[in-house]
Symmetry: D2
Subunit: 334 residues, 4 copies
């Protein structure tokens, strides 16, 4: 009963998923792929015995495809997800669900209209055990009510094509999702601050991003995507009675020449490899029942709306409110 | 050649200093004290063989007093420090140097007019070895140029008399000084954000305070003085090539019942006892040469000016610029 | 090209493997099982669509079985592994390879006679990333030549049937393998020391076990299998220029009420789940090529020989030499 | 009421004490010194306004000396301590109290005969806050009854004159004292193991030293005095319910180029400076009352007896019993 997966977008993250499905996870196979880089797509397809289609939506339509993973460029996500919904096929869409709030809303409305969850958005941090421990500590009352969240998102470098807004749509969007998920409430406003620019950065970097939630929790996110030294993601949830915080995973230490050294993760693969694996296996396992555990289309919509507000806050140099529609009952938190 | 110290203000911090001078440090004795609580002052004086004066300024004038420590309420500091300058006596003034920028400026002008440093302000963190290591790492180029500072100042509880501005003048003022000192530049603007209030706090708490420095470094300070769980001071200096950060001192760990536990300092005495000791011994040692190592009157003035701006930012709900006078050459950093 | 696995022994570790193969790993399925508890075996088989055989060796002979996992009681391992070698089928044998050195030797000789590696022994720690980092640090010269190893093996509790020798054959045997593997040399002598007995232990516990290697490295192992508080495995390799050490994985920390708390693993599954997964996937992947990466039959033989010497050292209260045969060239380290 | 201290031995540790008494502590002054290096002694004396005597015992006899610190070579300690007892003067004797058990016994007997404690032995670790936390955790029942102690004593290098026995008498003797003090019981047997020698060491190094206590607690000490990388002292006390362990003090961390680095202490001064200071101040404070808090002559005797047994164990290659006299009631633990 192998789940037959069609995958759209055989770039970095796409082949990362294909490799994992093929060689590390249980219960699924990639049977169809598409990429505009058609030679690349064919090579990848041949490597795993899949069909390489000429059009993205052919993957969705393929009768040998039970479920779809979307790893194409973000601006194509909405149309592809909508096609999956139209075809009644479960879809795991890499973040973002859409590049505009309006597009994300279309997905929410289309899915809600079917009355059945088909969409999961690839916010893999929800599957990271450290984040899960923080959530569990918080929900069990171990630190009281939430007051503040301090988050850091550092990346060693980004390409020359980097622009300020990308830090929000590509990196901070993860912090948007983890904040909403950990706190169990929506973000209602966004503002930004920036100061000195790193000489290593093609555009303003670092940036400090500030969220406010419904209940008044303040979230600050340091986004610094040219930090040079490694990949460093942190999250501290401060409550009325204490705090819970991620620890950077360290498996061994070396002491020599007067110093103790531990390794900092080099990139997102090292840091979140286990989370990506847990997410993908859980999604594969959930397809038969439809009981998806990760981020929903609503979460994808809310994340896009907050990111949108963040980009406007960046462009307009002011605090921007986030306006969400009333949550369809379909998405009510269970 | 014992240094004869007169101490004004025999409250908490005053008796903490007296006890240390008398029983733990070298080269000094307390020979005169004053406090409005005259019975208390007399008891303290008797305990160390000092004279208890009827007026604060009598301590300054006392011919058996070589140098003065001021630990009185902050609003009295300026007059007392000016008296010390007038008498040509070295003075270690607990923070703040003054409660208004104008008052602090009077001290700066009076001292500069004498052409001789007499004033040290009690920013003891400059004597904390952790902070010193961060400064040394930064100055030796180990993390590149400064971009950001993240600071946290948490206190378990404050009295019912607590008001929002006190977090700035009493707690954040330390972060003002450490930021200026670590970075070697002035703070030029202050803003605040606040969200949900801790139910344990008599007034809004926590507060997020933001500084900008001359060169554009962004400093954020979480001030949370009712955090319940302990005393927690953190400082991370993020540079273009890496970062340096304080570690909370841990001397031992206990593992039982599935958990590893280390102790969080209960209060400022535990956390900064060694720094207070180092500061006071260094000041005693510096009196004969006049080569003081700690915060100067200029530093006290700048800290007061930034704190003033912070209080205005709090009251007016906006970003406030800090206007400092041109630094007298007398205070030029060596 | 799914690898069809026959599994002997559907107890704790056996079902742990079956569950993983079926629901978490890629490229394999369990097609046949056996257990003396035949009802249990049938249930397990039904759950995964496998055949439940009446005899252990029927699993080996089953033409729908490409490779075998042995998770039966240790005293049955030799015969079952020999049957696999006889049938020319790859076998992953849980430790120990044999319960006597003589039996382990039979396996080594039988395998060497075939001229082809078929046997891997389930020392899963070789797949733990922390251990791998230590090995890599050591082999790259980061700590100089090896001088000492300090190891700790703590388990919260053991059943009432526990006897002293079991600590050696069940727990310390892992330290035997990791020591040999990390150091790349054989253990030549074993001795033990014991003192006060934990009141929680059915027999003497803790025990200190000491190894000496060919080149004179001293290894000490604290074996304490009733430590109550959690599962705690440590390894510090001390070299001439520094040391490398395992860090207990910590994913998050909670601070409240004056203490910082991190979780200690509750048992071997929590601590080594990722290592078991990596081992099993790597073995599955290796079957087609025969290029196994883990512990060989020689490693299993050497571990058994050292454990045997340890049991004799325990019984006779003296230092016992380990006598290994000359290593067949077949097993020469690559 | 300054305590007038006479100090014998103006070498490294002697001048370290003199400097501290003169410039960092309260209530004492060095009024007389002696050293066989008489020029050096005179310089030191001149520096602090003390008299430089021609004979060690002249320091003891000096009527301007209230109490004596002995920092001379170990083999001279007994005679000098006995002279202090004879003169009725309190004495802080650096470890060891004596170089033979017989000599140490003489001190015990002489002091007991006076019926008054005059002798404190300079085991400064009893004043280290980390060790104190372990003791406090243990005594409050936080880890149950003691079963094991793991200790490490590493030093970067030792001079070419180093011989094996020195590791025991100079370094391990500290572990002897801390073990006895933490556990509150005597060590009854000692054995040693050694393996590969560090190429940096003039004689066998490292050595593993094993103690057994009255109640059967096993203590193992790694003594490695040419570890190259820094000064590293560890102590883990394992109990029936958990363990307590020293943490190496870390005040800050630096992260750059893919690694997190913390500093390892370079030597004993860095690691135990605060403990030396606390010890010396406490001793000064105790002289007027005679209520000394540190190691007594009995502790010095027991440490010497265990060290003696250790040296014999080294020379004779066997486990050696420690034979202590019955403890005079004078020394009964309070």
């Amino acid at each position: 009963m192998t789940l037959r997966i069609g995958l759209i977008g055989t770039g970095n993250i796409g082949t990362y998923h294909i490799d994992r499905i093929t060689t590390k996870l249980s219960g699924a196979a990639v049977t169809a792929v598409f990429d505009v880089a058609s030679t690349r797509a064919r090579e990848v397809a041949d490597g795993v015995g899949a069909v390489a289609h000429q059009q993205a939506l052919d993957v969705v339509e393929d009768s040998n495809v039970d479920a779809v993973i979307i790893a194409s460029p973000g601006e194509l996500h909405t149309a592809q997800v909508l096609a999956c919904i139209g075809a009644g096929k479960p879809v795991l869409c890499e973040k973002p669900l859409a590049t505009t709030t309006q597009d994300a809303l279309k997905v929410v409305e289309a899915e809600a209209a079917t009355g059945k969850q088909l969409v999961q958005v690839g916010f893999m941090r929800r599957y990271d055990r450290g984040y899960q421990q923080i959530k569990s500590t918080f929900e069990s009352g171990g630190i009281g009510d939430a007051l503040l969240v301090h988050a850091v998102h550092r990346n060693p470098t980004v390409p020359e094509t980097f622009r300020e807004f990308m830090a929000i749509t590509d990196s901070v969007v993860h912090e948007i999702d983890t904040s909403r998920w950990l706190l169990g409430e929506e973000i209602v406003a966004v503002s930004l601050r920036s100061g000195k620019k790193s000489p290593h950065a093609p555009a303003q970097d670092p940036q400090m991003v500030h969220f406010e939630t419904e209940s008044g929790v303040l979230v600050d996110v340091e986004s610094f995507v040219n930090c040079q030294y490694g990949y460093d993601v942190r999250c501290e949830l401060v409550g009325t009675e204490g705090y819970a915080t991620l620890e950077n995973p360290m498996l061994s230490a070396v002491v020599s020449s007067g110093a103790r050294r531990t390794v900092v993760p080099a990139g997102w693969r090292e840091r979140f490899d286990a989370a990506y694996g847990a997410e993908l296996q859980a999604w594969i396992d959930s397809v038969p029942t439809g009981a998806y555990g990760g981020a929903s289309a609503w979460d994808g919509y809310a994340a896009t709306a907050v990111a949108d507000a963040g980009v406007r806050a960046l462009e307009e140099g002011r605090r921007v409110d986030v306006d969400l529609i009333a949550q369809p009952s379909f998405y009510a938190r269970k």
